[in-house]
């Protein structure tokens, strides 16, 4: 059993090697849908990072007027904590806000100098609120709009972040939809091309198949060689796609890291190397096998 499988693969490889030029072209075509999926894979990674990043930062920042005392702010903190779904409320004093800003911009002397020129701390004390979902915004907003607090609050910073997150979600979903349609289209093209190559191989080997039957080769021993042909296209396509994906991530990584600080595409891809290759292999081998099977069904009457 194992032996004949090995032989079928060997014969399939021989078949494929005979028309090498067509094989190379075919592998390239098979790579297109695989690469597209890989791009979606990486894009998903980037959008996940963006959303995680935005969500991990305080969802809502409540800035208080300079005149409000720390005690009053801490009372507000307790009240906000009481809202269900709020996962954390952090008090940031004027001094802490200044320190954090200074640290964040320590490499930007111009900015820090201008800060010193003001000669006072321009930052407002704030509460940073983390919530489970964006729906909690409304409750926090309702609380702060009450008579007790209206005068204390300078500004609340939440609506922009919400839109940004929603936009990213929408963008990702849109990209996935477009990607999926494109995948179906390009997958179909690759199936058609592989189907054509395998059909040509079958028709070109009519005499050979006839002889193989005469010496008693079984159905699947003969069919197997052509089945293997499509699958090999897929596997080679997946392998090359993996290399291309890695190379692209390697080259893009520094650029992405400057645009999105903290983002490490290379690292993420390396961490998900096996799932990524698994997906590539499944798509390649699946499309290849599917194409071969229809070609065999259509043209190989054994």
């Amino acid at each position: 059993m194992f032996n004949s499988l090995k032989r079928i693969i060997g014969l399939g490889w021989q078949n494929l090697a005979r028309d090498g030029g067509i094989a190379v072209a075919n592998v390239f075509i098979v790579m297109i849908p695989i690469l597209l999926t890989s791009a979606l894979f990486v894009a998903k990674d980037v959008s996940d990072f963006l959303i995680d990043d935005l969500q991990a930062k305080a969802d809502i920042s409540i800035y208080f007027n300079d005149s409000v005392s720390q005690d009053d702010i801490l009372k507000v903190q307790d009240n906000v904590r009481g809202i269900p779904g709020v996962t954390g409320v952090e008090y940031v004093s004027k001094d802490e806000a200044l320190a954090a800003f200074t640290k964040r911009h320590e490499n930007e002397p111009v900015l820090l100098e201008s800060l010193q020129e003001i000669n006072e701390n321009p930052f407002l004390p704030s509460l940073n609120v983390n919530a489970e979902t964006t729906a909690q915004y409304e409750q926090v907003a309702a609380l702060l709009a009450g008579d007790d607090y209206r005068d204390m609050v300078n500004k609340v910073n939440y609506s922009e972040k919400k839109t940004v997150i929603e936009n990213i979600f929408a963008l990702t979903a849109g990209a996935q939809k477009v990607g999926l349609s494109l995948f179906i289209l390009l997958g179909l093209v690759s199936v058609m091309v592989t189907f054509n190559t395998v059909s040509m191989a079958i028709r070109g080997r009519g005499i050979e198949v006839g002889i193989q039957r005469l010496v008693g080769a079984s159905r699947w021993f003969i069919r197997g060689q052509f089945l293997v042909q499509g699958v090999i296209f897929g596997i080679l396509g997946a392998l090359f796609s993996l290399f291309v994906t890695l190379a692209v991530c390697w080259y893009l990584n520094p650029f992405l890291a400057t645009i999105l600080p903290g983002m490490d595409v290379w690292q993420n891809v390396m961490r998900n190397l096996w799932p990524l290759f698994g997906v590539q292999l499944a798509i390649g081998a699946g499309l290849g096998m599917f194409s071969s099977l229809i070609a065999i069904g259509r043209h190989l009457k054994v």
């Binding site: 032996n3 004949s4 032989r7 021989q14 005979r18 080997r205 005499i207 050979e208 002889i211 193989q212 039957r213 005469l214 010496v215 008693g216 080769a217 079984s218 159905r219 021993f221």
Partner: protein, 232 residues
């Protein structure tokens, strides 16, 4: 072991439109296990057609062939494959796999019958040596002379030790030296128990063998003699 039962074959070709060519006409004869039978007859007498029937390359117009009491035209695909693996055919037109070299052609049938890699490595070089093709084993069939192709075809037919060898004009392209060699080889495997059916119109070959001779003429058996001679 093999019984031809009233085999008639009338060819009708769609391609050429030629119909009603009677190639075989009521053939009846039996072959015992271990026998060596020469089927002789003029060109066009029906020898190849008879062999084609045996491999179920084509079905007879009427009549049947029994192999070990099984009607070979009623076999399912799996059993038909087994039947063919039990036969070692040497085709008049060789029918070597055009895209494989001599070695791979011979190894192919061993793969088909499920021989191990070790057996292939052992037996293929041995048979190549016997037919004197060791230094042609890497060549493709188109790169061989007619006689070399014929010897490769013989090697392929014998390498997996089939129960029956069907040799259709296996010496047609051979010089007297190699003809003698092939005859010796066929006699030797016959001595070892292989049933041999040999189709030929070579008088010398038949007379040298001193075995049973079935003579065909226009699709009919006109003579069937043990220790027969070529007489046409």
């Amino acid at each position: 072991m093999i019984n031809f039962n009233n085999i008639t074959k009338i060819y009708s070709s769609k391609a050429s439109g030629v119909t009603n060519v009677v190639a075989l006409d009521g053939i009846n004869f039996g072959v015992q296990k271990g026998e060596f039978v020469s089927v002789v007859g003029r060109s066009g007498a029906g020898k190849t057609t008879l062999f084609r029937m045996m491999l179920v390359q084509d079905k007879p117009t009427s009549g049947t062939i029994f192999f070990k009491d099984q009607n070979i035209f009623r076999l399912n695909q799996g059993k038909l494959n087994n039947l063919r693996r039990n036969m070692g055919p040497v085709f008049q037109d060789y029918k070597l796999l055009p895209n494989m070299n001599v070695y791979d052609n011979i190894a192919y049938v061993m793969k088909v019958v499920g021989a191990s890699d070790a057996e292939i490595k052992r037996d293929v070089p041995r048979i190549l040596e016997i037919v004197e093709l060791e230094d042609r084993q890497k060549n493709l069939p188109v790169e061989l002379s007619g006689g070399e192709c014929q010897r490769a075809a013989i090697a392929r037919a014998l390498v997996h030790r089939p129960e029956v060898v069907l040799a259709d004009e296996p010496t047609g392209n051979l010089d007297p030296y190699h003809t003698l060699d092939v005859l010796r080889l066929l006699l030797k495997i016959n001595e070892m128990g292989t049933t041999v059916l040999l189709a030929t119109h070579n008088r010398e070959v038949v007379n040298k063998l001193k075995k049973r001779v079935v003579t065909l003429e226009k699709g009919k058996i006109i003579r069937d003699e043990a220790n027969g001679r070529f007489a046409l």
